[in-house]
């Protein structure tokens, strides 16, 4: 191999500098393209919701609205004020809240308890219990519709918010248990032993020692469950109708049942309203979400 002189090293250094710079700009370029691609639908939705029907007919999808016109948002939320056939989101939004809050709470709590038992109070056959719970994660929604409808009927809570709470809690338990089990596995069992010697019982150990350190995984579970339950359409449309329907079902009815003209601005505003709560949850708890997903890999 030939000797490299001082100047030839200089040249190589220059060359790699240019290559790195080019790659960097190329990276930014690709990232910007993707960002635009993903933000585009949201842009269209927001812009359309702020236009009047007249503007929509005359302009294109991308045209900027003439002004901030929130009329269609008000219509989507509160209706036009005439009797029959006027569907608007407000009552269904509260239905969804009434469904999602207890369902998220119960499924998270039960999942935490189950994860605690499966990792810290091992019993004969616990591996099988966990395996069957895991199996629950892979059962498709459609497969449980009929048995669930029958169960709700027997319990006398079909077509009610309580029924939906039950459905979502039960369907969520496999996922929440999996999350909590994997988190508690990384917490040393010696903590539980120490607490037992100190005289703490089953519930005291859970509430005083494990739950206070579970914040990251609780946040992950809440985000996951909230998104799943809030965005669910299949269970909502199958097990409820009319006044008991959650917001996603109402949104569907609203968009499809318009008898006269398609009001794109109202449709868009409704869709945004239906999506806002999940957005809020992500913005508030997003950084915990990432932290929680990676926790356990590096113990903090």
């Amino acid at each position: 191999m030939q000797d490299k002189t001082h100047s030839s090293y200089k040249q190589l250094e220059q060359k790699s500098k240019y290559t790195n710079m080019f790659l960097r700009w190329f990276l930014y370029f690709v990232l910007v393209i993707f960002a635009l691609y993903f933000i585009f639908p949201l842009y269209v939705m927001v812009v359309t919701s702020l236009k009047t029907m007249e503007e929509i007919r005359q302009g294109t999808l991308l045209t900027w609205p003439s002004g901030l016109n929130f009329d269609s948002w008000l219509v989507a939320w509160g209706g036009r004020g005439y009797g029959a056939g006027d569907t608007f989101l407000k009552p269904y939004f509260w239905n969804s809240i009434k469904m999602v809050v207890p369902a998220v709470f119960f499924s998270t709590f039960i999942g935490a308890m189950a994860g605690y038992v499966l990792t810290k109070w091992r019993f004969k056959g616990d591996k099988w219990v966990f395996l069957f719970l895991l199996f629950g994660c892979f059962i498709p929604y459609q497969a449980i519709l009929l048995p669930m409808a029958r169960t709700l009927g027997v319990l006398g809570i079909s077509n009610s918010v309580i029924g939906l709470v039950l459905v979502h809690t039960v369907y969520g338990i496999p996922f929440t248990t999996l999350f909590f089990r994997n988190f508690y596995v990384s917490i040393p069992s010696e903590l539980v032993k120490a607490a037992r010697i100190d005289g703490a019982g089953f519930f005291k150990i859970f509430f005083k020692i494990l739950l206070p350190v579970s914040t990251p995984i609780i946040v992950v579970t809440i985000i996951w469950q909230f998104t799943q339950i809030w965005n669910d359409f299949l269970f909502g449309s199958t097990f409820s109708f009319g006044e008991a329907a959650p917001i996603q079902v109402a949104l569907n009815n609203m968009v499809l049942s318009s008898t006269s003209v398609k009001e794109y601005n109202v449709d868009m505003a409704s869709a945004i309203i239906a999506g806002i709560p999940t957005l809020i949850v992500y913005v508030l708890a997003g950084k915990y979400f990432i932290r929680g997903l990676t926790s356990g890999a590096v113990k903090g």
Partner: protein
């Protein structure tokens, strides 16, 4: 009255036998170390004493009460764990008084205990801190403090120093020793570190495969190992075990290896049973530190061996010699110069040897 008495204790995990017919007694104020390689059952035994594991057979007595089916909190014991096991969400104060609060001790008594112990362990300045804000040594001290405030009859330590770095480990070892000297509470201490065991214990129980191999004072464990496992486990490097036969003629016993003319006289050895010694197949055990490069006393046996390998470790060197095709290790000061591949004159201190039956591997 024995503070702790274990009778015929057996434990299985499924079909695996972890502990087999363990018998153990500790007098008031003693420091018992359970020592053994990993997987020998020592931690399981400690968990059983604590009540954290169930028993398949046998009994555990504390102060003459059979506590085999008593809950951990009612056994009058306290335990210090390897990972410290401090409750992460509580500060030092809450950690230390958690047990007393569970036991519904009066507020005044709790404060009194807390103050006494935290001053004693010098953690009184750390009371408001969370465990994550403490150094390894401080965490260990708090963990010990949490055990101390309960004023238990027995302290259980589960490898409490394994998570510390080498320097801190030596310091904390001394502190635990001091602590025991001052408090004189009975201790059961699990470790796999022989130096820890030797320096701390008033008694050491060496375990292997769920059986106690020898339960004795550190001196006896070192000088009179009861079988080849103990001889091999204690000491670094471990005891040389040279295979050969005993020869007895006109009341004189000597050791010979196969097909060699080296004959080592065995005088003044404390045989357990002095019969049928002739032709017995044995291991001749001598520690590397009992082989010298110059005569140390009149009884020394002089021998010429070829040096094969030298390992320099600072203050000393470990030399490997060839004894009739068996390796013999010796420990010398590093200042001594010994040529490799040449015969060197060595002296075996015959007052320090051990003999083991080659078949049963038991001391004879």
């Amino acid at each position: 009255m024995k503070t702790l008495k274990i009778e015929e204790l057996s434990k299985n995990f499924g079909s695996t036998e972890v502990l087999r017919k363990i018998n153990l007694e500790i007098d008031e104020g003693n420091f018992l170390v359970l020592l053994g390689p990993s997987g020998c059952g020592k931690s399981t035994l400690l968990n059983i004493i604590a009540g954290l594991e169930t028993i398949n057979q046998g009994n555990v007595h504390i102060d003459d009460y059979n506590v085999s089916k008593v809950e951990p909190k009612d056994r009058n014991i306290a335990m210090v764990f390897q990972s410290y096991a401090l409750y992460p969400s509580m500060n030092v104060r809450e950690n230390m008084i958690f047990g007393l609060k569970q036991a519904k001790v009066s507020k005044e008594k709790i404060e009194e205990q807390l103050e006494k112990v935290s001053k004693f362990l010098q953690v009184d300045a750390l009371l408001e801190r969370k465990p994550s804000q403490l150094s390894g040594g401080q965490r260990q001290r708090v963990a010990i403090g949490r055990a101390l405030v309960r004023e238990p009859r027995i302290f259980l330590f589960d490898e409490p120093l394994s998570n510390l770095d080498a320097k801190l480990r030596v310091e904390m070892r001394r502190e635990i020793k001091k602590l025991h000297q001052q408090l004189k509470t009975t201790v059961v201490y699990v470790t796999h570190d022989q130096t820890e065991a030797m320096s701390l214990g008033t008694n050491i129980a060496i375990m292997n495969h769920g059986v106690i191999q020898q339960n004795d004072t550190p001196e006896n464990i070192y000088n009179k190992p009861s079988n080849t496992f103990v001889a091999d486990f204690i000491g670094s490097p471990s005891m040389n075990l040279i295979k050969g036969n005993l020869k007895e003629s006109s009341n004189k016993v000597s050791f010979v290896t196969h097909g060699s003319n080296i004959e080592i006289p065995i005088n003044g050895y404390d045989f357990k049973e002095k019969s049928n010694l002739d032709n017995k197949e044995v291991f001749f055990g001598i520690r590397p530190e009992h082989i010298f490069f110059k005569k140390s006393n009149e009884e020394d046996f002089e021998i010429n061996l070829r040096a094969d390998l030298s390992e320099y470790i600072g203050h000393e060197q470990i030399m490997t010699f060839n004894f009739e095709n068996q390796e013999v290790l010796a420990k010398f000061p590093s200042t001594v110069k010994i040529d490799l591949s040449k015969n060197t004159k060595l002296f075996f201190d015959l007052t320090q040897i051990s003999l083991f039956d080659a078949k049963t591997e038991e001391r004879i």
